[in-house]
């Protein structure tokens, strides 16, 4: 059994104006330590999909098994514990603005019940890993976008996750900063064998770090395979559109996926 198993995942948003099917019978599996990309145009359901993986969004049906645990069958308490194993980083970083960088990294340790002193010592080591130890006492508002994402990465590492969900994590960053963040993610993947799910509309991101990729269109996975293979010989129209208009899609900046 793979480390992450998604079976028949469905998500329907109900509204007075009619139901919207955001995800339709989505199936895939990810091996431990893999970096798995999910690409698609805006509105394809990428964000909904990744947010279902830690139940920020409640699926309407299907099964989500991560590390042998079936998420939809957990109690609230079990789910909170499971979430510590499933980290997430966001397009807009989502740091606590009233806390220092160090205290942001301490936050998951507080949740885990680590003593303050111990938490600080540990937090510093994570900040060192993302190259921001010198900013420990700064506030997020004083940092650049790339630095904020590094803090978010240090924070998520502090909860020692086995999975990292990246929801458009580089979409708000310039190309150069994107490169450095991708490199950092790659390092983390190799060092801790953290399984990663990378949601993006930037093809170059997928090309650079993903082992495998799935193409999402109108809430369905229309194509998936090894990144190289999909990029070299896309079979479906959706994949061709995404890959052949790569240059175009990169100049597009996508709005908030939240």
């Amino acid at each position: 059994m793979a480390f992450i198993e998604i079976e028949h995942l469905e998500k329907t948003y109900q509204a007075k104006s009619g139901d919207t099917e955001a995800l339709k019978d989505v199936n895939f599996s990810i091996e431990e330590g893999e970096i798995f990309g999910i690409i698609g145009l805006s509105g394809a359901g990428k964000s909904t999909l990744v947010r279902c993986l830690n139940l920020l969004e409640k699926p309407s049906g299907g099964r989500i098994v991560i590390g042998g645990q079936e998420l939809l069958k957990l109690t609230d308490r079990e789910l909170r514990l499971a979430r510590r194993d499933i980290g997430m980083i966001f397009q807009h970083f989502n740091l606590l603005m009233q806390r220092t960088v160090l205290d942001n990294v301490c936050f998951p340790l507080e949740i885990a019940g680590v003593r303050k002193r111990q938490a600080r010592v540990e937090a510093v080591t994570y900040l060192e890993q993302v190259g921001l130890a010198d900013k420990a006492l700064a506030y997020p508002a004083q940092l650049s976008g790339g630095q904020k994402q590094r803090v978010a990465i240090a924070r998520v590492l502090a909860s020692k996750p086995r999975v990292l969900l990246c929801d458009e994590a580089t979409s708000a960053l310039d190309p150069q900063t994107t490169q450095s963040i991708l490199q950092l993610l790659k390092e983390i993947n190799e060092r801790y064998r953290i399984t990663m799910v990378v949601i993006t509309h930037e093809m170059s991101v997928v090309e650079q770090i993903c082992d495998r990729v799935a193409v999402l269109e109108y809430g369905r996975i229309v194509e998936s395979g090894r990144t190289r293979e999909v990029f070299d010989a896309p079979r479906t129209d959706a994949a061709k559109r995404l890959i052949y208009t790569k240059a175009y899609s990169e100049t597009q900046s996508e709005g908030s996926g939240i």
């Binding site: 499971a82 989502n94 009233q98």
Partner: protein, 221 residues
């Protein structure tokens, strides 16, 4: 009436009584209003634990309490005041209606402050496995702290205004002096001085509150 030491003493006592009423009413108001505001923010449709029925009930209660004119409330709660304080006039007694008027007002202020907190930050906390208590105290209250402090400042000012109104029924403090001397005895001088002192008090409280809020805000460089 001449401006002798008696008058000055009376005014100083008025200031003392007013501050006593306002500070304690605000304190008690927050003891009731803060949890109520948290409950409102948390149970609303897009809150972290949506409970539409509970929200609706609290919402209506708060609205009803807020729409009762303070002067009427002052009289309506006299039996309760007697029960709690033993008498229905004077500064201590006035704290009871002031608290009852302040709590729903404060609850609304708290609710709106907490609703300003970025959804993304709350989601990040949820994704890290934070429980509801952590989210309320560390994320909602922690992140909204400057806004909450501005709320305290506004509440102090509003309650100060209410406290002056309580002078009509012998509530004590500056409002009481303004009514007794200025209104009943036509001593306009004293009335004006009292009003000026009230204005000064609001200004001072406002300035201190805003300074603190700014000092504690880390969102700007």
């Amino acid at each position: 009436m001449s401006w002798d030491t008696e008058t000055i003493k009376m005014l100083l006592e008025g200031v003392r009584d007013t501050l006593y009423m306002v500070l304690f009413s605000t304190l008690f108001g927050y003891l009731l209003g803060l949890p109520l505001g948290v409950l409102l923010a948390v149970s609303d449709r897009d809150g972290i634990r949506p409970r539409p029925v509970l929200y609706r009930i609290l919402d209506i209660i708060v609205n009803i309490l807020r729409s009762v004119p303070f002067l009427i409330l002052l009289i309506l709660v006299i039996p309760l005041t007697r029960l709690l304080v033993g008498k229905s006039y004077g500064s201590t007694a006035t704290i009871v209606p002031l608290t009852i008027a302040a709590a729903p007002f404060i609850a609304r202020m708290v609710e709106s402050s907490l609703k300003e907190v970025d959804r993304g930050v709350i989601e990040a906390a949820v994704s890290l496995g934070a429980g509801i208590r952590t989210i309320i105290f560390q994320v909602l209250i922690g992140e909204a702290r400057t806004s909450l402090l501005v709320g305290v400042t506004i509440s102090l000012g509003t309650i100060l205004g209410y406290s002056a109104m309580a002078g009509v029924v012998g509530g004590g403090g500056l409002g009481d002096i303004a009514i007794r001397y200025g209104y009943y005895r036509y001593e306009t001088g004293i009335m004006i001085v009292t009003v000026v002192v009230l204005v000064a008090l609001v200004q001072i409280l406002q300035a201190i509150g805003m300074m603190l809020a700014k000092f504690l805000d880390r969102r700007r460089v």
